[in-house]
């Protein structure tokens, strides 16, 4: 026995085991179709990397070329030349305002729905209906959501929330309307991440809380919500990145006014909420050849700022999911995409 253990395995013995062998030599026995597939897979992976690198480098180059501090801190002006048309302070503020409104509506809705479905979920069919309803929202194109917003805020019941035209007609367009529709965009990612977080909380944590005499809602407040804090953060970040990236809703529900134009005659904050404006995305759209103003330099600069936001949010999501060691990073990414 001892001779068997101490005897070193010869090179000839090892040759039969695949992974120990150099990859190059074993590939010689491969069929051509297998080699082609291997090559194609490498090519596809590298193509993706090349596309991403090209986009980041190109946008970075254009951004550094055209971006200047006064562009960020000056308001858009109506002008025919690129030199006179000002910067994008208003779109920047508009993006932030819409994000705040959208998340303020979406986060409580999504978290409460997820809590109800995971912790109560009675009757069962109703829970299924709510879940599939949110799935439908996730699958709805943003342009359809935008037109839904137009339809719902043109109802006379909701006329207080949107801008009024000269003739007294309700246009259905305002920051409030756009923000409400943005919350529909942000709802599914927050809901999915919080729901999955709640489902991974081990049941003995709940049972321990019940054994201490806590009610379900007390368990939720003291045990579950603190437990899924990082999921909430991930979900909200994903929701924010959906909101700042969305264009169709802004174009339809905020119009093509580049400046933030409050509705006259009202409280200052309410006036802005009822008024029109723009965001970075609609600014890019309007300044590209597709919109009215042919100011591609401004569009590039704004797109660069937008990309910086997106990259920062990406980093935040990655940080959170790395800190939360038990969940794998890729699953979080998948949820963000779908």
């Amino acid at each position: 026995m001892s001779t068997l253990v101490s005897h070193p395995i010869s090179a000839a013995d090892r040759s039969g085991i695949g992974p120990r062998r150099g990859r190059g030599s074993s590939m010689r026995t491969w069929r051509w179709s297998d080699r082609l597939l291997l090559l194609a897979a490498w090519a596809a992976g590298l193509t993706l990397c090349a596309i991403a690198a090209a986009i980041v480098l190109y946008m970075g180059y254009r951004g550094i070329q055209y971006l200047s501090p006064e562009l960020i801190f000056s308001r858009p002006q109506a002008s025919l030349t690129q030199a006179g048309s000002g910067g994008f302070l208003d779109p920047l503020l508009g993006t932030m305002l819409l994000t705040v409104i959208g998340v303020a509506i979406a986060a409580p809705l999504a978290i409460c729905s997820a809590l109800w479905i995971v912790e109560y979920g009675r009757p069962n069919w109703l829970a299924r209906v709510v879940e599939s309803g949110i799935e439908i929202v996730a699958g709805t194109p943003d342009i359809v959501i935008a037109f839904f917003g137009l339809a719902i805020f043109q109802l006379h019941l909701l006329s207080f929330a949107s801008e009024t035209a000269e003739g007294g007609g309700v246009t259905g367009r305002s920051f409030l309307a756009a923000g409400a529709m943005m919350s529909l965009i942000a709802l599914p990612p927050i809901f999915v991440t919080v729901r999955d977080g709640l489902q991974t909380v081990p049941s003995h944590m709940r049972e321990a809380a019940f054994a201490l005499g806590k009610t379900r809602i007390a368990t939720i407040r003291r045990v579950l919500l603190p437990g899924v804090r990082s999921n909430i953060a991930t979900g909200v970040t994903l929701g924010v990145s959906r909101i700042i990236a969305d264009t169709a809703i802004v174009i339809v529900l905020l119009g093509s006014t580049l400046r933030i134009s409050p509705q006259p005659g009202g409280a200052p904050v309410l006036g802005v909420l009822k008024g029109l404006g723009s965001t970075l995305t609609s600014y890019i759209y309007e300044n590209s050849p597709a919109g009215e103003g042919g100011a591609p330099q401004k569009a590039y600069a704004a797109a660069f700022v937008l990309m910086l936001f997106v990259l920062a949010l990406n980093l935040v999501v990655e940080r959170i999911s790395r800190a939360q060691a038990r969940s794998s990073g890729f699953v979080t990414a998948v949820e963000g995409i779908v």
């Binding site: 597939l37 194609a40 309803g133 937008l306 990259l311 963000g336």
Partner: protein, 327 residues
């Protein structure tokens, strides 16, 4: 009031509150379907379902709708949307066909082939590509891709060959398909990767024990096991491509022209419109009731197809449970 909120709630009240909020989210969906359908109704009332077909010039129909006042005559509701439906189908089908091999191969690369460091980079790249805003894709498309097609790809002979019917500006089917394909690839890669990672390692080891090489094992075992996931990913990507409005509105040339396959390769450069991009292009015309109804009809069609696709995706995912792989 606040102190009452701070006190522990009775359980049944909390349940009802949370349930009410969840139901509210669900009611929004119902309201969306009902409201969009109600706004689209005049088109169905005047055309029946034949508005999905072809007939007459769509451009002229839209112009008639725009020209009518608040009380349009019945003739203004005449609407035949086939050119834009055809455009939507064409762009979506080509983009998905282009994205499918690219994303399946990249997913195989990420999960099975790439060295660890390379793999980390690629996962990050996919995440980055997935989060690039659509308007940035559109901007790159309209400022880089469209001029490139205009200056280098489209030959003068191709330009003159279709001169009588349509003008080639560079914006058209090919750039729209390219940009859209890159946009939907990350979704498909992510979903396929997820499924590939969930294939039991024992299956791969079993294939290796039978003496097949790595690539053969991937083809014969792994890819075969995740076929349902690939179909589901394709369905989701199709839904995303169908609803994409901004990019297509920016790079497709915005023309009510239906590209003719009979034009040969020039077909790829002909401008067109999709359902979603038409809605974006004419969103300011909603004050004309007839046009508004037509646009809501397009929105309803998009909503319906997104719904049908998600149901289809769910049905396709069902058999996957047999293999105990997720997706």
């Amino acid at each position: 009031m606040l102190s009452r909120l701070r006190n522990p709630w009775p359980d049944h009240r909390a349940e009802r509150m949370l349930g009410a909020v969840a139901l509210f989210a669900c009611l929004c969906v119902l309201a969306m379907i009902a409201l969009v359908a109600q706004r689209a109704w005049p088109i169905f009332a005047h055309n029946g379902l034949s508005w999905l077909g072809s007939g007459g010039s769509l451009k002229a129909q839209i112009e008639t709708m725009l020209a009518t006042s608040a009380h349009p005559p019945a003739s203004a509701f005449y609407f035949r949307a086939w050119p834009i439906i055809y455009g939507t189908l064409l762009i979506t089908a080509l983009a998905v066909l282009l994205a499918l091999p690219l994303s399946v191969l990249s997913a195989v690369f990420i999960v099975e082939l790439a060295p660890l460091r390379m793999r980390r980079v690629t996962v990050r790249v996919v995440r980055l590509l997935a989060s690039v805003p659509s308007v940035v894709w559109g901007l790159i498309g309209i400022l880089v891709l469209v001029p490139f097609f205009d200056n280098h790809i489209i030959s003068p002979s191709e330009r003159t060959s279709v001169e009588g019917t349509v003008q080639l500006t560079g914006a058209g089917l090919a750039p729209a398909v390219l940009v859209l394909a890159v946009m939907i690839t990350p979704i498909m890669v992510a979903l396929t990767c997820d499924a590939l990672g969930a294939v039991p390692p024992a299956w791969r080891e079993g294939a290796a024990a039978l003496g097949v090489n790595r690539m053969r094992a991937i083809r014969a075992v792994t890819l075969r096991a995740v076929r349902p996931a690939i179909v589901a990913a394709t369905v989701l990507a199709t839904a995303r491509a169908l609803g994409e409005a901004i990019v297509i509105s920016m790079v497709s040339g915005s023309n009510f022209f239906a590209p003719r396959p009979s034009d040969g390769l020039t077909f790829l450069f002909e401008p067109l419109r999709s359902l979603a991009s038409t809605i974006v292009d004419y969103h300011e015309g909603t004050s004309a009731p007839a046009l508004s109804a037509a646009l809501y009809a397009c929105a309803l069609l998009l909503l319906f197809s997104a719904f049908a696709l998600s149901v289809g995706g769910y049905l396709i995912k069902l058999p996957m449970r047999k293999y105990q792989t997720r997706g």
